[in-house]
């Protein structure tokens, strides 16, 4: 086996271990089963003199490592010394504020070193880095899906409407506080210059901020198959990276190396600013690997970059593999973009150059949609059969809308009256995009209540078989791709 294969398969087996452990299988069972299987492969290896069996036996160790890692992490989370159900006084640091229906504060308790979710009213407003005293009752998590979500976020309990006292502000990380302030300021400019729905949509496009979305608009996006636009996927990140990189190269006339490192730095800051959602982190890691490969002249392997990004994120939080829908969607979509869209382009005889790149947008949208469809249906019970058309109509103008959005914010920081006029331009694009979203959301005649796991399994088996067979027949599709299209990250 080549080194890059060893790396890929080790990580793959490690992730399988984590998956098995997260499905609530007994840890001892996993270890014993893996050891048994390992013994069988060793035996077969000696018997048949086939090296592959030795490799398999060795890789099985990574399943054990993965499951132990998950188990250890879960135990650490559960072994927290909190007195649930008792009225008590706590001191903590606000690390995250979510608005909409009052404020939801994620608070790090200072003595217990754990997170709790505190529900408070709209006012007074709390901010990242506020040190607070609160008097309330911490409720333990139960078996609901919301509790599982909270556990994934490493939140140990919830507190409803305690009495709160602000001790001190600005006690958080200095850089993060500044970045969040910049983000708030940007959204403020959007609010002041655009009608609420448009400013909300623009905040989503540029910063992944979804706080201000009305229920109707969220549903319209889900029904038209355009929710991914505001999820700050790799698509948005790659647009930002592209603009920054060329800005450094052309406008500031920096050398390639400087432009490269500064771009990476800015992407990192951006990830921090937008709250490090799964899709953003994945895109950033893969983007950095791609840039690194380009700069060092190494071969860039999508396969390894994808699994390495997943590996890093799961190391930080093993629960996201099974319980974070955003994580799953993001990885499935990128696999679709990389492995499925070339097949679709070929099948439909699509060209690289077309009016507003509509042919390319067609193949990327269709492939991503095919990849995520069962998951989308099972978790949101929406699937838009016309989504590829909606996306073709919208995607062409998204980059320019995003660019205009950032320019609008920059003008707003300096001189508001000019921003108010500049906003007219942005308004036109946003009007068009929102019109398309709302128009196509009406054509959602497929509403599926649920899909069975059996169906999902079969679906992916067929899809994977299709991808493999096509590649083997065409013999065009090898794992390493040297010049990745940055757009597809």
């Amino acid at each position: 086996m080549q080194l890059y294969d060893i790396f890929f398969f080790s990580v793959l087996f490690f992730l399988i271990g984590i998956l098995l452990a997260s499905l609530n299988l007994n840890i001892l069972l996993i270890i014993v089963a893996s050891l048994l299987a390992g013994a069988i492969f060793l035996f077969l290896g000696f018997f048949k003199k086939d090296k592959k069996n030795f490799w398999l036996a060795g890789l099985l160790i990574f399943i054990i490592l993965g499951s132990i890692y998950y188990f250890y992490d879960d135990q650490k989370f559960k072994n927290i010394n909190l007195s649930f159900g008792q009225q008590e006084k706590f001191e903590g640091l606000v690390v995250r504020v979510e608005k909409g229906g009052g404020q939801k504060l994620t608070v790090e308790l200072l003595n217990q070193k754990t997170l709790v979710l505190v529900q408070v009213r709209n006012y007074p407003e709390f901010h990242y880095g506020d040190l607070i005293n609160f008097n309330g009752t911490i409720k333990a998590l139960d078996d609901s899906s919301y509790s599982r979500y909270l556990a994934k976020e490493r939140i140990s309990g919830t507190v409803d409407f305690p009495t709160i006292e602000l001790i001190k502000s600005n006690q958080g990380n200095f850089i993060k506080a500044k970045l969040l302030a910049l983000k708030d300021k940007t959204i403020e400019v959007f609010h002041q210059t655009l009608p609420s729905e448009k400013s909300a949509f623009l905040s989503g496009l540029t910063l992944g901020e979804k706080e201000e979305f009305s229920k109707d608009f969220k549903e319209a996006m889900a029904k038209s198959g355009t929710s991914h636009l505001v999820a700050l996927s790799g698509y948005n990140i790659s647009i930002i990276v592209g603009v920054i990189f060329s800005l450094f190269l052309s406008t500031f006339r920096l050398g390639r190396k400087w432009a490269f490192w500064l771009s990476i730095l800015i992407v990192n800051l951006f990830v921090l600013m937008t709250g490090a959602e799964a899709s953003v982190v994945r895109a950033a890691i893969m983007g950095i690997i791609a840039l690194l490969a380009k700069e060092t002249g190494r071969i860039y392997s999508f396969r390894n970059a994808i699994i390495f990004a997943g590996f890093l994120m799961i190391l930080v939080n093993p629960k996201i593999l099974t319980f974070d829908i955003g994580f799953q969607l993001s990885f499935l979509a990128v696999i679709g973009l990389v492995y499925l869209s070339p097949i679709i382009s070929k099948l439909f005889h699509l060209k690289k150059e077309s009016l507003f790149d509509w042919q390319e947008n067609f193949s990327t949208t269709l492939s991503a949609q095919l990849m995520v469809a069962p998951l989308l249906i099972s978790s949101f019970s929406y699937f838009s059969p016309l989504s590829f058309l909606t996306n073709i109509l919208i995607l062409s103008v998204i980059p320019i809308t995003m660019a205009l959005g950032f320019i609008l914010a920059a003008i707003g920081f300096v001189f508001m009256p000019l921003a108010l006029i500049f906003a007219w331009f942005v308004n036109i694009f946003l009007s068009y995009e929102i019109f398309i979203i709302k128009f196509f959301s009406r054509f959602n005649f497929l509403s599926i209540a649920s899909v069975s796991y059996l169906f999902i399994t079969f679906y992916y088996l067929i899809l994977i078989t299709f991808m493999f067979s096509f590649n083997i027949i065409n013999n065009k599709f090898k794992t390493p791709i040297t010049e990745p299209e940055i757009k597809n990250l």
Partner: protein, 284 residues
């Protein structure tokens, strides 16, 4: 430039052209006034537009929904409100104003001078300070004039401003426009109504009445309604546990033969005022 970019540019210029012409033709009509009773749930909010596209917002309801209502009736590129008036500092009247002040350029903020202790009111004061919005305190005897239109302030006087109940300290305004009168009473109760009758008598007569305190039974007394004689009465109310609007108030309004509308059933109500005539529309 590639073909794509040229086509995109042409489409964009075309769209911008249409947009500008649309703005030109969609200018607010001259020489007429409008009053919108905004459907903001259980709370008060009224938008008055006067000749020359002058916009006056009286109260902002209990939450952000006032922003969404305003957007339905203002031009999409119109980010300016001339006057924001707060009748009294209770949350169902001012909380929505926090978002309005954050999102719109506001000419002047007007209130009765009475401050509240609540966290939300502190936030309102913060926003006013941050955005450098001029603040004016008005009370009995003051006037706001613009061309042929004017607001007359009937209350509060010095005594009622210091009353224990915030409702007694309400700004009571009468708008005179297009040969018609509209009375905005905030949350005033019977006590204030008596004072007003004693001081002003028939001057209170108004064609349109913003019914006081969401149709509470402790407001809109017989005596008061007999003096005001509103032809149109609008109750701003949402789902609530106070029993608003009360049957008592509704009966008293019916007794004087006024037409009664409410925002819970009718949604946002728009009244067009033109040369002594008023037309009322329900805008869902």
């Amino acid at each position: 430039m590639s073909n794509n970019k040229i086509i995109l540019l042409l489409i964009f210029l075309f769209a911008f052209d249409i947009f500008l012409w649309w703005q030109v033709f969609n200018q607010p009509l001259k020489n007429r006034s409008e009053i919108y009773f905004l459907n903001v749930g259980q709370g008060d909010s009224e938008l008055v537009t006067l000749d020359g596209n002058v916009k006056v917002l009286i109260d902002g309801g209990p939450n952000k929904s006032v922003v969404y209502e305003l957007e339905k009736f203002l031009q999409p590129i119109d980010r300016y409100i001339d006057l924001v008036i707060l009748s009294h500092p209770q949350t169902d009247h001012f909380t929505g104003l926090i978002d309005v002040l954050k999102r719109y350029q506001v000419g002047t903020f007007i209130f009765n001078g009475r401050e509240a202790d609540s966290a939300a009111f502190k936030e309102l004061e913060n926003v006013i300070k941050q955005k450098n919005i001029p603040v004016v305190i008005l009370g009995e005897g003051d006037k706001i004039e613009h061309l042929n239109d004017k607001f007359i302030v009937f209350a509060p006087d010095k005594n009622s401003l210091e009353s224990l109940s915030l409702n007694d300290a309400c700004l009571v305004l009468q708008l005179e426009t297009q040969k018609l009168k509209a009375l905005f009473t905030g949350d005033t109760e019977e006590k204030t109504e008596k004072d007003l009758i004693a001081k002003y008598g028939n001057i209170l007569q108004s064609d349109i009445l913003k019914v006081s305190h969401h149709g509470s039974k402790y407001s809109s007394s017989d005596d008061f309604l007999k003096v005001v004689k509103p032809k149109i009465s609008v109750i701003e109310v949402g789902k609530n546990s106070y029993g608003h609007p009360s049957n008592e108030a509704l009966n008293r309004l019916a007794n004087i033969g006024s037409q009664i509308f409410n925002t819970l059933q009718n949604g946002t109500l728009k009244v067009d005022l033109k040369d002594g005539k008023a037309y009322i529309f329900a805008k869902q």
